[in-house]
């Protein structure tokens, strides 16, 4: 029997590149599919840094505290074993990136420098100026290029994943993709498929995400039977620059370096602080640093869900700049060397607004930023008897793995800043361990497959392409997207309520119907971007429905999910992972218990700065990390 050794990796961001690199290092052949040049993937937008607890600032930090901060930051919704293993692996990931030439900022002694980020009291964020994601992506891109030259990685750039090829037992055996330049359809074969296609911010149209981040790959897989977990958890970043084409992120590192959020106070108005007490809204006409007042422990570095909600609350009281939906984020008081570390983001602000943030405070507002939910993936924990028999990061579809922002695994109900780069790289590395193991468990190999499974999958997409290009009707897909996004932004972001969620769900159903009546403004095959988007949009509608229905059914307040009339976290009913499964009528929702073997849930408190962390329970005895 011929040895299986080919893997398809879909997505060329940090997660996909990390997976490709590790798989190639293990001697497997990787086919890397990406809808843009991998070097342009959305990971470039990550600005602030990557969390690694190596205690270089002598603060008694440790991977265990990092794990606890991450679990608590996620409001205890995340399964704990994968987070623990990720945080324990982080120091080795840092060493690897450092050796591979990633230009991390240095201290005068020449060692790595670390800054503070939200939701923690420690300096544990390594960074490259304020474009860390770009630099990490380039470092892995360079390593993957090395394997490409060696013939272990073959790239299919400007190609888009459309569907999985499944055999008669429902096992993944390849994919169907199209070439974006000419819409040629093609089958790629392999016995494992890794999906690393990022988040779905574009469903909300304007977000901090790149225009690639439609979530379409996950939506298509969902329709093919992949379980989607915690869809309702969408992170709203507190600080973005409002814009016509996109909402540009202003990194949390601007606050990590000492930036302050404020508005002019108005003592005639009063507001309830998180401890329940009532206070006047600062002094009239004086800057009011409301986050520092409300959360003296963490100040401007409260987790993002809290920051975003408080900014919205302030604006709703009419205290936003000129009474509108904007507040100040001020770095103008920072010394020059601190501003210099933020150069990349300050430049973005200046280029897009024409105002120099080194001299005047920035005007910012919250924006859709990160998809905590995603593909449900398995995680047999280190001491579990079936650790070797099951496969970490594998979806419920055998042979189909899912990693990075497109899985649901590492961030629970809210992601802490600078944890995403880590989870992307880490989950990619895990596939490098799990896929060789999966291959040795496979009974049948690709070469034994009947050719018809591939040709049938291709036919489905050929038919779909023809239908979509030839469809006639009165709807315009871009205007439908506007409409969907409008509803999603209004009702399914920072503040939700059941009445509006139900209406949004009805609206999505209506849009689904109207989608059938779209006609493309371009019917050709050469670089037809309208077609490409229209194909993606169908999958985006499905995910929008998953997000909205998950939100509707979760009657509690947890992390990024805040619902009027439900002021508290309800651990009894909802300390559970939401699982959505495709149904042509409406997604089916069920719940799964959260693995809390290491830490008991406690109330999230960011009012006081307390460095004590509970003792970890059941620390695994047989832990083997991917590096």
């Amino acid at each position: 029997m011929q040895e299986v050794k080919e893997v398809i990796v879909v997505g060329g961001g940090l997660a996909g590149l990390s997976s490709a690199m590790k798989l190639a290092e293990e001697g497997l052949k990787v086919k890397l599919v990406c809808l843009t040049k991998v070097r342009r993937s959305h990971s470039v937008c990550a600005q602030g840094g990557i969390n690694i607890a190596v205690n270089k600032k002598n603060e008694d930090d440790s991977p265990l505290i990092h794990a606890f901060d991450t679990i608590k930051g996620g409001d205890f919704l995340a399964n704990q074993p994968p987070i623990l293993e990720m945080c324990l692996t982080a120091p080795s990931i840092l060493n690897m990136l450092d050796r591979a030439g990633c230009p991390f900022n240095r201290t005068p002694e020449g060692t790595l420098d670390f800054r503070r980020f939200g939701g923690t009291l420690y300096h544990r964020t390594a960074f490259c100026g304020a474009s860390t994601g770009q630099q990490l992506l380039y470092t892995l891109d360079e390593q993957v290029r090395r394997y490409e030259v060696k013939g272990l990685v073959e790239k299919f750039e400007n190609h888009e994943f459309l569907r999985l090829v499944l055999d008669d037992d429902g096992i993944a055996r390849g994919i169907v993709m199209h070439d974006i330049y000419n819409l040629n359809l093609e089958v790629l074969k392999a016995d494992a498929v890794v999906i690393a296609t990022g988040g779905c911010g574009v469903i909300f149209q304007k977000s901090t995400n790149s225009t690639f981040c439609t979530g379409a790959a996950n939506g298509r897989l969902f329709k093919q039977g992949m379980k989607y977990a915690n869809g309702e958890f969408i992170q709203i970043h507190p600080t973005a620059i409002p814009g016509q084409d996109k909402l540009r992120l202003i990194s949390e590192s601007s606050r990590g370096e000492g930036g302050r959020v404020w508005v002019y106070g108005d003592s005639s108005k009063s507001i309830e602080y998180p401890d329940g007490s009532s206070h006047p809204c600062g002094q009239t006409g004086e800057p009011w640093y409301f986050l520092e007042e409300m959360y003296p422990g963490f100040g401007n570095l409260v987790p993002r869900d809290i920051g975003a909600r408080e900014i919205l609350r302030i604006c709703e009281l009419g205290l936003g700049i000129d009474g509108g939906n904007q507040v100040y984020l001020d770095v103008s008081h920072l010394p020059r060397e601190k501003q210099h570390k933020l150069e990349a983001v300050l430049d973005i602000y200046e280029k897009f607004t024409g105002t120099d943030p080194r001299k005047l405070p920035m005007k910012i507002f919250p924006a859709v930023h990160y998809t905590m939910g995603g593909a449900w993936v398995d995680w047999p924990a280190a001491d579990d008897p079936d650790r070797e028999a099951r496969f970490r990061q594998m979806t419920n579809i055998q042979g189909c793995f899912n990693i990075g922002e497109s899985d649901y695994q590492f961030h629970g109900a809210n992601r802490l800043g600078a944890n995403s780069l880590l989870s992307c790289i880490y989950s990619g590395l895990v596939t490098g361990v799990e896929i060789p193991k999966y291959f040795s468990s496979l009974k049948k190999q690709n070469c034994e497959m009947d050719e018809s499974i591939f040709s049938k999958a291709l036919e489905v997409e050929e038919k779909r392409q023809k239908e979509l290009l030839e469809n006639t009707g009165s709807e315009n897909v871009h205007l439908l997207h506007d409409e969907l996004a409008d509803w999603m932004i209004k009702h399914v972001t920072v503040k939700r309520n059941n009445e509006d969620l139900q209406k949004t769900l009805d609206k999505i159903k209506e849009i689904k119907q109207r989608y059938k009546n779209i006609e493309l403004s371009d019917k050709g095959k050469t670089l037809n971007q309208t077609y490409v988007f229209a194909h993606q949009f169908e999958a985006m509608i499905d995910l929008a429905e998953v997000i909205t229905k998950g939100a509707l059914l979760r009657d509690e307040f947890r992390g990024a999910h805040f619902k009027e009339g439900f002021d508290d976290r309800d651990d009894e009913k909802f300390l559970k992972t939401t699982i959505a499964e495709y149904d042509p009528q409406e997604p089916k929702i069920s719940y799964e218990d959260v693995d809390m073997r290491h830490y008991d849930p406690v109330k999230r408190n960011y009012i006081v700065a307390k460095k004590s962390v509970p003792e970890i329970k059941n620390f695994p005895k047989n832990i083997k990390l991917p590096l």
Binding site: H42, N95, M96, T111, Q135, Y181, G354, L527
Partner: protein, 257 residues
């Protein structure tokens, strides 16, 4: 007051290129991307005829991904940071000309295929060779000034503006353009990367290498990231000459050190 502007866009494929004009109403904060998005939603040209949406490349829209390169009034740049407002120059009307890059194969409208740039990164061995991803301890210490210099070089997003602006990059020459030469400087400057210094300098000595630079210095002018490309070229030029001398006298790197 309502202010109108016209986008005059060079469209089509390599078989046939033509100009098409679109008239749009200005709104504060508009940039070339938001204008193209508007056309995409309602593809009607200035004459009022229905047409196809304009194809363009885009990604991050924050000038870190390098996707949205195009010629705006003849100047190579990123469309996302190209705000509409300054083009009015006090008038209430203006016309902005958009065209695809000319130094790369045209796909359609404003989209070209910049694969050659990534191929060049292979030629110059654009990576630091490490033994593997597994735990090997910390990397080398790096002086913060060196890190700072490397970081600036490493912000190159392979957008292609430098090649587009360079008169030496043309159909008759094999010149690889400024970006990969600057990348040689980046990797040779890293303590671990330096071990393959001479392998990276070799392609610099060949046809298409650093010797083909004509010192027009446009690259530095148009680089959206302000990367000191001319400095990189002269530095690598000198290094390459030294390498050529070494090769001529058959001195191995080891002996030299």
């Amino acid at each position: 007051m309502k202010r109108l502007y016209t986008l005059k866009i060079l469209r089509g494929t390599s078989e046939k290129q033509y100009f098409e004009e679109f008239e749009l109403e200005f709104s504060p904060g508009a940039n070339v991307i938001s204008a193209l998005m508007e056309i995409q939603k309602k593809p009607v040209n200035k004459k009022g005829e229905k047409t196809t949406p304009v194809a363009w490349e885009q990604g991050c829209l924050e000038e870190v991904c390098g996707s949205c390169s195009m010629l705006v009034n003849g100047r190579p740049r990123q469309a996302c940071t190209c705000l509409i407002e300054p083009f009015f120059e006090g008038a209430d009307q203006t016309t902005i000309v958009l065209a695809p890059f000319t130094k790369f194969p045209l796909i359609r409208d404003l989209v070209v295929d910049r694969t050659s740039m990534f191929e060049n990164l292979k030629k110059i061995r654009g990576w630091v060779s490490i033994d593997g991803s597994f735990e090997q301890g910390q990397g080398p210490k790096v002086n913060p000034d060196v890190q700072e210099a490397l970081y600036v070089l490493s912000t190159c997003m392979t957008c292609g503006c430098c090649s587009e602006g360079c008169p030496q990059v043309n159909e008759k020459s094999k010149f690889m353009g400024p970006a990969p030469i600057s990348q040689v400087r980046l990797f040779n400057g890293h303590p671990n990367g330096a071990s393959e210094k001479s392998e990276r300098l070799k392609p610099m000595l060949e046809e298409g290498g650093v010797g083909d630079c004509g010192n027009a210095q446009n690259c530095r002018e148009v680089c959206p990231k302000g990367i000191p490309l001319t400095e990189s070229i002269s530095l690598i030029g000198r290094e390459a000459t030294k390498q050529a001398m070494k090769d001529f006298f058959s001195l191995s790197d080891a002996k030299k050190q």
